[in-house]
């Protein structure tokens, strides 16, 4: 029997059931994030026909194919750039980007900081599992120090990015982080991101049990998810940004918010003024 903790929300209404079974590994947190996203879409009553989901390459990138919407699975690292063109050309669409830590912070890092700065209405959902899962478990920009991966056999020597601090510093209008353990809280955070009129960056701390967890002897999926508890704390970002960088101290919740004008709106307003003046 299908037990639903969310009355009125049936995830099957938002999935392409013909694509099931999905390809995620047992224990992967990405499915939980997908559920939270679709629950948020449902809560807001967004029209699937007007919903566009753009995703990059990697485990997170494959999620778009499962969503019953206008979906675009693009090149590695570039979903924010594709989404920028789509959202500017079609302001009537609600554009969501699904990306991973490698896609968004390594190969696509330049697009992230400029999307934050530009503040076009887009919701960027970054699923952080600390690893390049699809290619077999290589180190990513968010892999914790000392962790073993196939390309850090000595243990990772590089400090990890704090993606939310990066997004906030680059000017994103909305920045938030949540863990997959708190599905209703994650749903509420994504909802707030979707409702934000400008660029919203939402990081989900996911878990890669099969590849990252196994390599580092982190136990089962539930053990990995519970371990996140020791690394997170609900807070605002102000104290973190003002204090020395603490890579293993990850605040969650809405971490930054501003009401800078949305880029598409200001562009169209300025364009209308120019067109009016020249006629």
């Amino acid at each position: 029997m299908f037990i639903d903790s969310a009355p009125g929300f049936d995830i099957r209404d938002y999935l392409r059931l013909e694509m099931m079974p999905h390809f995620l590994c047992p224990g992967c947190g990405h499915g939980i994030a997908l559920r939270a996203l679709l629950w948020a879409v449902h809560d807001l009553g967004l029209d699937k026909d007007k919903l566009a989901v753009v995703s990059g390459i990697g485990c997170a990138g494959r999620l778009s194919a499962y969503i019953d919407a206008n979906t675009f699975h693009v090149t590695h690292g570039r979903p924010l750039a594709y989404a920028t063109g789509l959202a500017l050309a079609r302001p009537d669409l609600h554009v969501i980007v699904i990306t991973g830590d490698g896609d968004c912070l390594a190969i696509g890092g330049n697009h992230l900081i400029h999307a934050c700065r530009r503040n076009l209405k887009l919701t960027c959902l970054m699923l952080n599992n600390e690893i390049y899962g699809m290619t077999g478990g290589q180190v990513s920009p968010t892999t914790s120090e000392t962790r073993l991966t196939t390309t850090t056999p000595l243990g990772n020597q590089e400090p990890r990015f704090d993606p939310c601090a990066l997004a906030a510093a680059a000017g994103a209008g909305f920045v938030g982080r949540e863990v997959t353990r708190h599905v209703p809280k994650l749903k509420e955070l994504i909802k707030a991101g979707l409702e934000h009129p400008g660029f919203a960056f939402v990081e989900v701390l996911s878990d890669c049990t099969e590849i990252f967890g196994r390599k580092n002897d982190l136990g089962s999926s539930s053990e990995m998810i519970m371990r996140q508890k020791s690394e997170i704390r609900p807070s605002s970002y102000r104290d973190t940004l003002d204090s020395p960088f603490r890579p293993n101290d990850l605040p969650t919740g809405i971490l930054a918010k501003n009401d800078r004008p949305e880029y598409g709106t200001t562009y169209r307003r300025a364009a209308a003024l120019q067109a009016g003046a020249s006629r």
Partner: protein, 388 residues
Amino acid sequence: MNALDTALTGKSVSKLISGNHACALGAIAAGCRFFAGYPITPSSEIAERLARFLPEVDGVFVQMEDEIASIAAVIGASMGGTKAMTATSGPGFSLKQENIGYAAGAEIPCVIVNVMRGGPSTGMPTRPSQADLMQARWGSHGDYPIIALTPASVAEIYSETIRAFDLAERCRSPVVLLYDQVIAQLSETVTLGSTGGSNRTERKWMSGSRSTAKPYAADDDCIPAMARPGAGYRTHTTGLTHGEDGFPTQDPEAVTRNLSRLFSKLDRHRDAIDSWEALSCDDADVVIVAIGISARAATRAVELCRTQGLRVGLFRPITLWPFPEEALRRATAQARAVIVPEMNTGQLRLVVERVLGGTPVEGIHLFSGEAITPVDISTRAAALARRI
């Protein structure tokens, strides 16, 4: 009436403008309403013009953070149904290649202008070149077809920019507009509006029932109808090899069928794609084969040779890719030798040699950052015509 109004209304008026200016006006006339770009010499004037023009026609201009983001945003805008273009030069063209392959594979119409400058690498940003012919054809990984157009005058940049959009929309393919720094920044008189107006090719859009719709199933014309986002089809687009339903597949039969159709697609539309000019080729002992600014010099070289009573002609591909092979064979049917003047080390010559088989082919290759002169060509052509 200003030049922009002319491009919009299709009313004919003559203007003295640069090649890059003509490209921007051609784009507006063709219905381009989205441009994303990144500054690079010698193509930046296209972006600068469109930054002013597009807001006036309810379009969008955006300067992106890099070359890759520019082509990505253009493809994204086109996925939304808007005619879109980017413009760049050598280094930027290299950076865009992966995503040009995406546009070819996912069949998203777009126009990419590459104003060729000296290379390799940073090369000579303010000097002309014709060294990206092969990159235009083979630049992205994997096997895919593409269309590339090579205008030779400012007027032709205007008309070929319009044709580039028509072909991109009709064939659901990326179209590369290749020209060199000389004609990009040369000013000539152009009759605007002559090929403009509202009668433009539009993309084939999906209609009918969602339950039977297949976004990559094609009719006899090999061109699938695109699902417009928001029209209720909720389809999937991917750079992975996909079946007719648009979803990823590695089924050998489905992969073979889709890629075969991709190639058949351009073959099927060669009547619209092919374009060339044959000048005095019917009786020519020597035929010059050239594109762009080198073809301009060759036109004068033909005149110089003919005044000496030498039978020299010119074959000029306007559509470079797919290459007009049959037309070249016909134009050189009487020829005993062929000369290929080009500003590279032999890219066009390689193609001409392959197409013509036994006919002797000589190259004039200048890669110093200078344009080839009419006398450079006429001297060689005259010597060859006297010898054979």
